[in-house]
C-alpha cells in the first residue's frame, strides 16, 4: 500500500488520463501513451510504471481498452475518466 503514496505513481495516473484526454474520441496505443506521458513529465518514465498507472485507471473504469482488427490494444478515456480529470 505504501506504493500508492508515491508521488510519481499518483502523477503518472493523472498523466495517463491526461494523455488519453487529448482528442478523447481517438484511441491510443500503449506506445503513444508512453510517448505523450514522457513529454508531459519530462521523460524517463518506465514502461512498467506506466502499465501500473494504466491498470489502476482501468480498475477504476477511468479508461478502457479494446483490440482492433490487427490485435493491437487501443486505449480510450471513459466519461468517468474525463469527469475525474475535471475535478
Amino acid at each position: 500500500m505504501a506504493a500508492n503514496f508515491n508521488p510519481l505513481t499518483i502523477i503518472l495516473r493523472v498523466k495517463v488520463r491526461e494523455a488519453l484526454n487529448f482528442s478523447p474520441g481517438y484511441p491510443k496505443t500503449e506506445a503513444m501513451v508512453l510517448q505523450i506521458v514522457n513529454q508531459l513529465v519530462g521523460g524517463g518514465v518506465d514502461i512498467q510504471e506506466l502499465r501500473d498507472a494504466m491498470e489502476w485507471n482501468l480498475t477504476h473504469r477511468f479508461i478502457r481498452s479494446e483490440k482492433d482488427d490487427d490485435k493491437q490494444v487501443l486505449w480510450y478515456i471513459t466519461e468517468a475518466g474525463i469527469a475525474q480529470q475535471r475535478i
Binding site: Q48, R51, E55, L58, T59, R61, R64, S65, E66, V73
Partner: protein, 159 residues
C-alpha cells in the same frame, strides 16, 4: 746552516746537491723507510679450471636458452589466445543469457499486463451490466411483494 757551510768554504750552489746526496744515502741504507724492490716483468698465468665452461659450450648454452625462450613465447601466445577466446566466448554467452532473461522477463511482464487488462475489462463489463440491471429492476421491492403475497396466502389457508 748555509752560513756555516759558507764559513767552511762550500758554495751555496752546492748545498742542494749535498743535501740530495745525503738523503739518497740514507734511503739506500734503509734509515728513512723500507727499501722499494724493483718490479720484475713476469707474465702472469692463471690456470683454467676444468669446471668452467669453454666459449663454445657457453655459446651452445646461450643458444639453448634462446631456443627455450622462443618456445616459451609461443606457448605464452597460445595460452593467451586460448584465454582470450575463452573470455570472449564467456562474455558472449553471458550477454546472450542476459538478453534471453531480459526478453523472458519483458515477455512475462507484457503477457501479465495483457491478462490483467483482459480481466479488468471483463470485470468492468460485468460491473456495467449489473449497474444497468439494477437501474431497471428493484429486487428489494419485488421480494417484498412476493413476501406479502406469501403471507396473504398463508393467512387465508393456515397450514
Amino acid at each position: 746552516m748555509i752560513g756555516i757551510l759558507a764559513d767552511i768554504g762550500i758554495a751555496p750552489e752546492m748545498v742542494g746537491t749535498i743535501i740530495a746526496t745525503i738523503i739518497i744515502g740514507l734511503l739506500g741504507a734503509g734509515y728513512l723507510g723500507k727499501k722499494v724492490s724493483d718490479v720484475q716483468r713476469v707474465q702472469l698465468e692463471i690456470p683454467l679450471r676444468d669446471k668452467y665452461l669453454t666459449r663454445s659450450e657457453f655459446l651452445e648454452f646461450k643458444g639453448d636458452i634462446k631456443s627455450d625462450i622462443r618456445e616459451m613465447k609461443v606457448l605464452y601466445e597460445k595460452a593467451l589466445t586460448f584465454a582470450t577466446d575463452r573470455d570472449e566466448r564467456a562474455a558472449t554467452d553471458l550477454k546472450n543469457l542476459g538478453d534471453q532473461l531480459h526478453k523472458r522477463i519483458s515477455d512475462g511482464d507484457e503477457a501479465g499486463a495483457e491478462r490483467r487488462r483482459t480481466i479488468h475489462e471483463e470485470i468492468n463489463r460485468n460491473t456495467n451490466a449489473i449497474t444497468r440491471i439494477e437501474a431497471h429492476t428493484n429486487v428489494g421491492r419485488d421480494l417484498g411483494k412476493l413476501g406479502a403475497a406469501i403471507m396473504t396466502l398463508a393467512k387465508k389457508e393456515p397450514v
